[in-house]
């Protein structure tokens, strides 16, 4: 699935694709995509803040490494699903949600 999306390094945003709520983050030159709903209490991570490669959940402060989806901070315990992303250039990225 191709989406028109351009982020600066360190930026992130939420997108809805195939009915899925997905967080897209750009770290340096690379885009990363993971479930936007926090594995802990379903808050939207896109409303949180990025610290290094960690996204901090705005509800209870759980955190996840956006490059791997791994849970890095309590009270969250479960990892986030991640999705393969490719930068197609010209402000277009492609995402595999299936």
């Amino acid at each position: 699935m191709r989406v028109k999306l351009k982020l600066e390094p360190g930026e992130h945003t939420g997108v809805t694709l195939d009915g899925k709520d997905i967080l897209v983050v750009r770290i340096g030159e690379t885009y990363h995509a993971l479930d936007n709903k926090c594995s802990h209490g379903k808050a939207r991570l896109s409303e949180g803040r990025l610290r290094g490669t960690n996204i901090i959940c705005p509800r209870h402060g759980g955190s996840f490494d956006v490059t791997t989806g791994k849970c890095t901070g309590r009270p969250a315990l479960l990892d986030q699903n991640t999705y393969p992303v490719k930068d197609e250039g010209d402000g277009v990225i492609s995402l595999e949600t299936a």
């Binding site: 802990h40 610290r51 290094g52 705005p58 402060g61 955190s63 901070g73 309590r74 009270p75």
Partner: protein, 463 residues
């Protein structure tokens, strides 16, 4: 043997004093660096039980820690509304949050429902509101209880009176301090000479580039005492070589603040013959050049006739700093630019205000274990002109047996920190096996250690 006739505490290392050396610099020191304040404060031993006894540690938790201003975090940990971080001391935990008006609030980090800790110990992050993970009681950034789920079941709860409990929180020079005592004197008063002295020292905006939290196998006081004196330098850092002694000055300013200062790049006061300025420059370059942006191994500067290595090196450092960070550092005195100047605020805050040596330390008991502590090490740099300071980085945590050399960012100081902390396990063992009952202190060079215990004792006896 040394002269035992003179009044105790009046003897000094032979050779020129720190003050004499810095008055020869070509960019003169401010008054703050020329003041001297030493008074003999007795020569009794310091009881080892002050370090090893669990009862003594509990007394500190009951009477000292709840009464003092403690450095909790830096403003750059909380740049924006909703940013928070957690400061822990013993079994207490403080939640610091920046509110929508830009002020920093400090709260007891526990929910008003059934006390769940709201944010994890040692964590940092961002919230729109503070929501307890257990039943969702939600507080706004000023601590007011904004949402009580199923409030029909809590008719007996006064919502307005169930906000998070506040802790005193005041900021000096970017450093956020907390005090559990509602009756405490204002931070500015507690800091004694510090605000006045720092107005005379480099004043540029700063940001944190590195934070290490090192777990140490020793009491928090013993650990910081390894950093309060320079008597150890010859043996701990230089294999006993006598020409490595430093011209140093020790000051005790009041109940809370003490200081040492020592020269960088001046000859050892007892060196005979005195090395040439060019030889001193070579040493300086070998040991210190990493502070200078872009300095290369082979670029040892030449010291012109009638100038000193200190002045030439400091001028180069100031020029490179001005180019790199876009602030004008040309008026900074030689001493403030390159010397090791260390202020200490009781109980546990250390700050080096120099241009090259711009670092801070903090030591805290590890939970309530008298034999272990946490050592926080912070590196600062000037915030480059034209942008706001970077958010403070999260700490890199080093365990009991880890080395500072594992973190490349610590740079050439890593070996020194390993040496400084390398004696602590042996000293802690020694406290327990010694045939004596207390530590003997030098009258002058170890005065700040005596002062630390005297101030601590005043708090412990509720003075």
């Amino acid at each position: 043997m040394a002269n035992k006739q003179a009044s105790p505490g009046s003897a000094r290392m032979p050779g020129p004093s720190y003050r004499e050396l810095i008055t020869r610099d070509n960019t003169p020191p401010p008054g703050a660096l020329l003041t001297e304040q030493y008074t003999f404060a007795g020569d009794n031993d310091i009881a080892f039980a002050n370090y090893t006894s669990q009862d003594y540690a509990e007394l500190e938790f009951a009477r000292m820690w709840p009464k003092v201003w403690q450095w909790a975090c830096h403003e750059t940990h909380l740049p924006e509304t909703g940013d928070y971080c957690v400061y822990d001391i013993g079994n207490a935990s403080v939640l610091l949050v920046r509110n929508s008006a830009g002020a920093v609030n400090a709260f007891v980090n526990a929910c008003m429902h059934r006390a769940t800790q709201l944010k994890a110990s040692g964590s940092c992050g961002f919230v729109n509101a503070i929501t307890c993970p257990f039943h969702g009681w939600t507080y706004d950034l000023d601590g007011n209880l904004a949402e009580l789920p199923h409030d029909w079941d809590f008719p007996h709860v006064d919502q307005a009176g169930s906000g998070l409990r506040r802790i005193r929180c005041e900021i000096w020079n970017g450093f956020v301090f907390v005090n559990f005592d509602p009756q405490a004197v204002p931070l500015e008063d507690y800091l004694e000479v510090l605000p006045d002295h720092f107005e005379q020292l480099p004043q540029h905006p700063r940001e944190i580039t590195l934070h290490i939290e090192k777990h140490l196998p020793a009491n928090w006081k013993a650990s910081q005492e390894a950093f309060l004196e320079l008597y150890h330098v010859r043996e701990t850092h230089a294999g006993g070589h006598p020409e490595t002694d430093l011209a140093a000055q020790y000051d005790v300013f009041g109940k809370h603040v003490s200081r040492f200062m020592h020269t960088i790049g001046a000859p050892c006061p007892m060196a005979n013959p005195v090395p040439s300025e060019q030889v001193l420059m070579k040493r300086l370059w070998r040991e210190e050049k990493n502070w200078i942006p872009g300095a290369e191994e082979d670029d040892v500067p030449t010291v012109p006739e009638n100038e000193t290595a200190r002045d030439v090196y400091s001028a180069l450092l100031k020029r490179r700093f001005s180019e790199t960070y876009g602030h004008d550092f040309s008026n900074v005195s030689t001493a403030a630019a390159i010397d090791s100047i260390q202020y200490f605020v009781f109980p546990n805050f250390f700050l080096f205000p120099g241009l090259s040596l711009n670092i801070a330390y903090r030591f805290r008991p590890k939970l309530n274990n008298p034999d272990q502590c946490l050592f926080d090490l912070f590196y600062f740099q000037p915030t480059p002109a034209g942008r706001s300071p970077n958010q403070a980085p999260e700490p890199i945590r080093l365990g009991l047996d880890d080395s500072f050399t594992q973190v490349p960012e610590v740079g050439h100081m890593a070996r020194i920190f390993d040496e400084d902390t390398g004696n602590l396990r042996a000293q802690t063992n020694g406290f327990k096996i010694s045939a004596k009952t207390g530590a003997t202190l030098g009258n002058y060079q170890e005065i700040r250690i005596r002062h630390l215990h005297q101030t601590n004792t005043r708090y412990l006896s509720n003075e």
